[in-house]
Symmetry: D2
């Protein structure tokens, strides 16, 4: 069994729950390190009100003792701070307010949803699971679930950091405004961390903010593109031998499964269609002193044949504009089949900075899986020994 | 256990082997139907010599009797027609020519590979698996393995076709030359099938051919973008409830794991970064007569919340230019660590038309997995009953 | 993805956590139904004090709304009622009492464990995970973890009961005292439920109690054998087509993985070694009125070729005597390597009645997995339709 | 992805096919080593005629070059020597003899099966997969499939032998005649190998043979019990942390999934029900010179907490008497629903010696999975380094 995780929890439910299985023992981990990633996920210019309510905090319920992992499954709980207001509507108990499609909160406001929102899981989910109160779908389909994935990823990230593998995310496009940089990953991380849009190019940032403000004024929403860079990876994570062991496929799955992501590319990605092969492939050189092979370019984005090649992993993903808009979109009441124009009271304009943080953390988890698959190991001590043995083998290759 | 498959086989080995597990019984399938897909994979302007040698043919070794699947695993064998020339080099037997890094064929020509090709699995694979004869890597990493995946996909495709789910692939970009169309999928399929580049726009086709000829003259290679369209899908394949059950993630994994694919996008994909939400989301309407919900646009590419929504599935993927070039790329001899300029004697200029066929078939397999996960079933009869029951339920939703 | 679950939690940790993934929507489920199974697990003559402290109660944190499953993952939390007394020792925080092998509780009593108990995970686990405080192993290896599995099984059991599949467990041997019965399963269930040892034969029960009292006097422990009977199963769960899809294998895995179980047998089991084939195989007959095939004997225990055959599933498992004894066993201090005689202050004499309940519930989960694999389905409505369609198909076979 | 395998192939089909995925590179393996295990599977007193026809030989089609594994999937093909006689009946082609339930061989003899055999997959399989020619079930359900599992296990066994892990199987019961021994495993292996019944006690062997002869005379069949002993295992394979990672469960699944196996027990197994705990648990001692913990008894059978504890693994399984008998059993014609008495022309009397060999090899595969899960590794060199590092860690524990 490789490293794995499951999340559970509805958006307005009592809590999100995560179980992470297969982490080696002896890894130092603090709730604050998980909470730091959760907080990064909640930031970003263009967010509406809800993010402020939540201030997500993960509580470690198992698998960690005296600051270190035990090797047993790690359970995390992220309470919903707004639970008191939703308890009646979301209760697991029969006979609660939500029974028979008449969910109401204490103010008597109906919480039943009969109007599927375009671009959401509402309608296909309702039909698949035979729910006519679409709240039964949207609660789980909500991007709030990604808090669980970020928490799992935060632990994976801690593991990778023990081996000096670091993950950087930043925005390269928001609403069509592009941000470019030739900074080193470490610098990108610093700048992105200081930016309200997790972007490096401050000129672009200004125009992005203007674009967000314009969208806000029009009751509209925006998407964008983020880039993930991973430094410090050893050669040989993933494998070419079977289709389902290729690391590029695994990464694409993890990132594409994030809510609202509609595309993933690695290295030069889609741009490589318009180049000749001689412009794309990264020539190979040898550094005699460090006894390592290297490339001067990195159009492959650090992956060849479904494996890491020792260069930085570079991956980009596009997030579509949020599908909840102030500006009403045409829909249909699923009970009456009558047309309906959805209105919302509160939403974000854009969430690409958050998506960038989510992207970092799902990439971290996927890489930790590949890392543990290659190096085995039940304890950090053993993992370090196996890892260093392989590095030495590579130098002597 | 859902539907699954494994492939085995080296590029110049005796044969490719595929096992497909989990197909229901009673599905009519002929070797010719599989071979038809294998043949489509071998076509395309810009291919070199090897494709002609092979003329792949799959032999069904198990799981099918009297023209119908049994429900037991289906084993396929695709012989390497050139095996006689490679037997000595690739033999499984110790003491054979390849022992001790001195593989030679009958002509005495050494087949040992010490020069990793940029853009290939050669170097990371050699280091990972501790092989100094890189043939031990490149033989499996070769795109020839995709013949196995196409064969598996051909069976999946046959299953889907029983439910009138059809899969169309065509080229939308080759070397930066774009082909656009507003034809219906059925028409696209017809036109693509008749085109040497699997593309619909004959003007673009001309320019693509010119581009290939130019690349050939320069000893260079080209990539491109293909699009897959799937018609006839029911609502509700995939699921929003857990990250690893989202169909967009599964599709991205399957397609990104194809050799040389560096990006995957769904629906409007990367272009959605530059649009407002109001321009992107597909409004929902109801067709009272057919009792079904529909959209007038399809920017979501048929997937919402990780589930099919009843519209056509639309997915695009980019293939980088082939990394084997006539024009030498700089590399390093892994034994001496000296620089080396790789030369090749025979290669393709581009393989995007083939990749498009591979894409169709891996998408078919992924959809068949989701289909069987939703509808269960051990026999085609049962599957049809369960499927039709659900369609009726959707009409009555 | 089939139905799956993960559990987390240490024995004296804050809580046990369970995530059940893949349950269809629309299944009515109450916390009380889960708690009922948890309570059954805590009963039985021969238990020590701890069971009384706990009074396990599962709280549903997600996946259920207004008394019905949503189709989304179901998270359960079972709090440790004794957490206040253990918080200091088991805290996840660094710098807490347990740091550096000096865990103490508030009374100053050291909770560090350096003496591995024979028959437990302590020593192999400590070596595998590189823990010198063996508490880091025993906390997770404890049979308390089975509360999580029972909770997951309780939901599966509810699903099965919707299709009139019922699961009965009873003791057939305790400490060598055998209990036999020829009652129908329903009667067995009633009698077992009323017995402090979950056994049907009241004569045997008396002797079992005497045996337990004898063991208690001697500071010793006892094992035994329980039997699980499942009624109402359809034909065709599991499959013969691949080794890892055989239901007998899946059942054996689930039951053998219960703490202290050392053997599993199906139907006539080990006794079939001493019989001729003509005495073992269940002849086949046809009931024309109900249009069904049946057997007059059931030595196969309801499974042929790795599939249910429509007869009752019958399975037995042996639990070794508890490995924690009042009577000291020889061991070694892992720090000093000096011999050591383990003493305990509180333990149970036997836990076979509890194991029987655990067995019922893990069998329920395994059967629900096979059931959903065969019938697919996202909602109870769809599942019922698919199930009934298949029953009809069987009648018309 | 851990080590995995799939088999395919019908009993009278063209060939059995196996794909083994996840073997490290650099493992020396010869076809003869696989064939040796296949030959051992075909031996044993009490077999009928078919075994002689077959003389199974595995051909390595991929994944091995110059005598060593490549790290890529290993495909094996075991041809059916009798294929010429069955080609017409078993052809995959539509319109072949078997179409429409009228399969005939060249002699005009119908090969359609409408009479399900008690104790076989025939009837439940036919109903599940909607086959009325039960040949479509029995061909795959046949124990011939285990040749594929033995072949996969033979490779796993070779891997284990590189680490001096050896696997011994022998018969401890045939038809109720018990064979006991206190010999060391190595001696047991030698004696079993020389015995036509793979049993050690020559007195018992005589009585077993007499029992087989008696059964033969009566047209009856016999089952029995075999024992598997594994020596040389390191501490810490498997894990206590999650139910599906316990090695005892994995082993039980692998062994119980062998055709006709109805029970599995580990160590003292079912006998432990009748003993006090003080008689069952293996006390722990320390060997200062070799720096290792050990036990003087091994009632746990080498597994504690779902992990190997460094003692020999000891496992027993019961095989029911063969369900194909000369002596007719009552059954029903599935077309007419009329009673029918099955007769057979050729069958074995017992196959427990073969089952013992199958047991050895499925245990080998399961242990190799656990071994690679713990030690990771892509090459034998790396695996050896990681393994030895852990052994040293254990000595320093």
């Amino acid at each position: 069994m490789p490293l794995r995780f499951l999340t559970a929890g509805e958006s307005h439910g009592q809590a999100l729950i995560v179980i992470v299985e297969g982490m080696p023992s002896g890894l130092p981990i603090k709730e604050e390190e998980i909470n730091h990633q959760l907080a990064r996920r909640q930031m970003g210019y263009g967010r509406g009100g809800r993010m402020k309510i939540e201030q997500d905090r993960a509580e470690i319920l198992s698998g960690v003792r005296a600051g270190k992992t035990l090797g047993s499954p790690i359970a995390l709980k992220i309470n919903n701070k707004d639970w008191d207001n939703w308890q009646k509507v979301m209760s697991s108990k029969a006979g609660s307010a939500s029974g028979g499609d008449v969910a109401q909160d204490d103010s008597g406001q109906s919480k039943v949803v009969h109007h599927p929102r375009p671009g959401h899981a509402d309608l296909p989910g309702g039909m698949k699971y035979d729910h006519h109160d679409l709240r039964n779908i949207l609660e789980r389909a909500s991007a709030r679930e990604t808090a669980g994935r970020v928490a799992a990823g935060a632990i994976a990230r801690k593991l990778l950091s023990e081996f000096e593998i670091e993950i950087v995310g930043h925005l390269v496009d928001l609403g069509g405004v592009q941000s470019t940089t030739d900074l080193a990953p470490k610098k990108i991380a610093e700048k992105a961390e200081a930016s309200p849009l997790r972007t490096v190019d401050s000129k672009a940032e200004e125009r992005m903010i203007a674009k967000i403000d314009e969208a806000k004024k029009n009751g509209d929403s925006l998407g964008g593109i983020f880039e993930i860079i991973v430094t410090g990876l050893p050669v040989g994570l993933g494998s070419h031998v079977q289709w389902d062991r290729k690391l590029d496929g695994e990464l694409a799955r993890a990132v594409m499964s994030i809510q609202a992501i509609k595309g993933v590319e690695i290295g030069m990605g889609f741009a490589s269609a318009a180049h000749f092969g001689s412009e794309v492939h990264d020539e190979i050189f040898y550094q005699a002193k460090e006894k390592r092979f290297y490339r001067k370019t990195n159009n492959a984005g650090g992956l060849e044949g479904g494996m890491t090649n020792g260069e930085n992993l570079v991956l980009r993903a596009v997030m579509k504009p949020l599908s909840t808009l102030y500006r009403p979109l045409q829909s249909v009441n699923i009970m009456t089949k009558e047309p309906y124009q959805a209105t919302v009271e509160r939403t974000d304009i854009t969430a690409v900075p958050a998506a960038s943080v989510i992207g970092e953390n799902v990439v971290a988890f996927t890489l930790a899986q590949a890392f543990l698959e290659k190096f085995g190991s039940d304890s950090l001590k053993e993992l370090r020994r196996n890892f260093e043995g392989f590095l030495k083998q590579c130098r002597e290759f």
